[in-house]
């Protein structure tokens, strides 16, 4: 159960192997890896800013909510900060539960919240200059799925 914010690239396969190891009682591990997109040449570099101490605490709060809601045994969130090249992994989420449905849904839930509620500021640098990115309408409607009674 941890949140890692790091500037260095990470290898999602290695994270998944480590997360899955030694789980005789788990039954299901789901994971998601998000990659930085080139946007058809529109983005050369993605720059992601976090507020250490606040960003990680907020992600942990979101993940603890997911753990409680879906009865997770364990979870891991690794997020890049700083400058990220297209094709590089930007986020990795893994969830562990007794049965598959909870692991899948918790992973989906975590990503929806990360995309719309996590305190990051994201800037795209491309041939036309730099621009700040804000959550899309799709990001907002995706997270609302989990808030309906």
């Amino acid at each position: 159960m941890s949140v890692i914010l790091q500037t260095a690239p990470f290898e999602p396969g290695a994270l998944l192997t480590a997360f899955s190891a030694g789980r005789a009682e788990t039954g299901a591990v789901a994971s998601f890896t998000g990659l930085a997109r080139a946007e058809q040449g529109g983005t050369d570099i993605l720059e992601l800013e976090a507020y250490p101490g606040l960003t990680d605490a907020e992600i942990a709060r979101i993940a603890q909510g997911a753990a409680q809601r879906f009865g997770l045994q364990d979870w891991l969130v690794v997020h890049r900060v700083g400058r990220i090249a297209p094709g590089e992994a930007i986020v990795f989420v893994a969830t562990a539960s007794t049965h598959r449905r909870e692991a899948f849904e918790a992973c989906d839930y975590l990503m929806d919240y990360l995309k719309s509620r996590a305190p990051f500021w994201k800037k795209s640098h491309g041939p036309d200059g730099a621009r700040w990115i804000e959550p899309t309408d799709r990001d907002r409607t995706d997270v609302e799925r989990w808030e309906r009674p």
Binding site: G34, L48, E49, Y51, G53, L54, A57, H79, I90, V91, L114, K115, S116, R117, A118, P119, F120, W121, K122, K123, W132, I133, E134, P135, D139
Partner: protein, 78 residues
């Protein structure tokens, strides 16, 4: 005196990310930052949140000496 941090587009507008600012309340700090009219306007913009010592606060209340005050524009998400 507080350590003021600016995030995202606010840092671009101000041309700095971190600065010591005189003031015993958020109102004082906003007033001190008001010397830069563009920044002052951006700080009251839609969706800008303020954190004192890494906790999001509302209003313009007192700020203990040595606190860290962060102005955060609308978040981009991960």
């Amino acid at each position: 005196m507080a350590r003021v941090l600016l995030f995202g587009r606010l840092a671009d507008i101000a041309g700095w990310r971190e600065r010591e600012v005189e003031g015993a309340s958020l109102a004082d700090i906003r007033a001190a930052l008001g010397a830069d009219a563009m920044l002052a306007e951006a700080l009251i913009g839609k969706g800008v949140q303020v954190a004192v010592d890494k906790v999001i606060v509302r209003g313009d209340g007192p700020v203990a000496a040595g606190s860290e005050v962060a102005f955060m524009p609308p978040m981009s998400g991960g």
